[in-house]
């Protein structure tokens, strides 16, 4: 159990590290690669939890994750990246966003403190990291201008929520999990269509132009 606790905390921190990469890299490809590795880590953690908790359903979840988030979505992302070009325009420069992310993770630790006291699960060490991952993904969403990078932020947010579910409750029932996956996939597809539409209309993926519509 001690090993399980260590490994889950390690996996969670690896996922958080991978969420920090987009904050200072400047290409969509780097974003997509970070997301792929993050999903792979999440799948590994889910399988690990399945092994240690003896919950066979979690293996199915891990397999789903592997298929959807490590293979399918990164491919779609790569295709969109090729079509729209790779430069990104953040609202915040790299240094500010990385430092903000650091503060957000500190905040997550403070918020999660009562949770840590209440929980007796061996995985509880990773809970603040999962919360931190959620906050950092939100930061990615709000601080980037291009629709494509916001989509990746959304996908990382989804990873963070899935991580929190695995760590805090050993995963939600399979039916719910499948529902969430379908939601995420549908959401991603809808966003993909939006991205294409935005690009068709404005010849750019800069979402700032959307708010200037009213002029």
């Amino acid at each position: 159990m001690r090993l399980f606790a260590q490994l889950s905390a390690l996996g969670s921190s690896a996922m958080l590290l991978l969420a920090l990469i987009p904050l200072w890299r400047h290409t969509v490809r780097a974003y997509a690669r970070a997301f792929t590795w993050q999903s792979l880590t999440l799948a590994g953690l889910t399988a690990l939890t399945a092994y240690f908790s003896g919950d066979a359903e979690l293996y199915a979840v891990a397999a789903l994750l592997l298929g959807l988030k490590v293979v399918v979505i990164p491919r779609l992302l790569a295709r969109m990246d090729r079509r729209f070009g790779s430069e990104i325009q953040p609202y915040l420069n790299a240094t500010t966003s990385v430092l903000t992310a650091g503060v957000l993770v500190l905040f997550a630790y403070i918020v999660a403190e009562p949770l840590l006291l209440a929980s007796r699960l061996p995985t509880r060490g990773g809970i603040p990291l999962a919360l931190g991952l959620i906050f950092v993904s939100l930061l990615i969403i709000v601080s980037r201008k291009r629709a494509l990078t916001q989509v990746i932020g959304f996908l990382m947010l989804e990873n963070g929520i899935a991580l929190l579910a695995v760590l805090a409750a050993y995963g939600v029932p399979l039916v719910v999990e499948i529902g969430v996956f379908m939601d995420a996939l549908m959401g991603f597809l809808v966003m993909q269509i939006f991205v294409y539409q935005i690009h068709e209309t404005f010849e750019s993926l800069d979402v700032e132009q959307l708010s200037r519509l009213k002029d």
């Binding site: 090993l3 905390a9 390690l10 590290l17 920090l20 790299a94 993770v105 990773g126 603040p128 990291l129």
Partner: protein
């Protein structure tokens, strides 16, 4: 002299003697990865021998500082090499200086090197010195904060004790705090030893050089000492990364067998780190100088998270 004192002396000599070899291994690995044959591993030793035999030339305007700096830099680096656990934990010499002393001895060397870069008044030297100080100012808080992450889990800043503590509690080695601190210190190692994303160690011709720019006025045995000190610095940082974060193999008892195992383990760990460095230097291009602070801010945040994880997550 007691056995432990002998061992400490041998350990230090080992670091000083093997450091150019490590630099040679990195160069060789890098060349092979890039499809070149590369110089033999002993090449740095030959360069040092050649430089030591040559007469040093000193600029007319240079003050005593210029002559003293190579010795100061070399002495501080060797002193640091004496304090880092290479083969055994629990040697009495580790009580002389802890992690904080190690960091500031290295920084003292950097400080004098920057002064010496300014001293002869050549434009390159001044530029290199100002860049080196910028990077040092950004890297220093990272080292400080990352150290606290280690010191918090070990309840001590003593290097030998940190390693011994982790040997006794192997589970702490894979805690999030340690992982993040390792990542932070690895980035700082690249910055402090002038490796690729921050500085290019194998060029004298670019306007972007940092470390080499400060050494530009040096020749002969002065240059040999500074080059040697740079090699030892790389060795020391690698040894710190290897033995503080992955201390397995370090001798707890002073039997010949344990020491032989420690030597083998050290060689293995340094080899792995050298390979990682060569791979990284082959894969990445040098960062623009203005992006270096971004990289170091990433490592600062990693160190900050490491402390948070060690403090709140235990």
């Amino acid at each position: 002299m007691t056995a432990t004192a002998w061992l400490a002396a041998v350990q230090t000599l080992l670091a000083v003697g093997l450091a150019p070899g490590l630099a040679g291994v990195v160069r060789r690995l890098k060349a092979r990865l890039q499809g070149r044959i590369g110089p033999p591993i002993g090449q740095p030793y030959r360069e040092l021998r050649k430089l030591l035999q040559k007469e040093p030339l000193v600029a007319h305007h240079a003050s005593w500082l210029f002559r003293a700096t190579p010795f100061i830099v070399f002495a501080t680096t060797v002193a640091v090499a004496a304090l880092v656990p290479l083969l055994a934990v629990g040697l009495p010499i580790y009580a002389v200086g802890d992690l904080i002393v190690v960091v500031y001895l290295l920084l003292a060397g950097t400080f004098f090197l920057a002064l010496a870069g300014l001293d002869p008044g050549s434009p390159f030297g001044g530029m290199g010195a100002s860049r080196e100080m910028t990077i040092a100012a950004l890297a220093e808080p990272v080292i400080g904060v990352a150290i606290f992450a280690l010191a918090l889990t070990a309840d001590s800043t003593n290097l030998g004790r940190i390693a011994a503590r982790m040997l006794a509690h192997p589970a702490t080695a894979v805690s999030p705090g340690h992982l993040l601190a390792f990542a932070a210190l690895f980035i700082v190692t690249l910055a402090e030893t002038g490796r690729l994303p921050v500085d290019n160690p194998s060029t004298h011709l670019e306007l972007t050089m940092i470390h080499e720019a400060m050494l530009l006025e040096y020749s002969g045995r002065y240059l040999a000492l500074l080059e040697w000190a740079a090699d030892i610095k790389l060795f020391v940082f690698f040894a710190l990364l290897a033995n503080l974060f992955v201390p397995w193999g370090l001798a707890v008892t002073l039997t010949p067998l344990a020491l032989a195992v420690a030597l083998g383990a050290l060689a293995l760990k340094l080899g792995v780190l050298a390979l990682a460095l060569a791979l990284l230097e082959t894969r990445v291009a040098k960062l623009r100088l203005f992006r270096v602070p971004e990289l170091l801010s990433v490592s600062f945040v990693l160190a900050l998270l490491a402390v948070t994880a060690s403090l709140l997550g235990r």
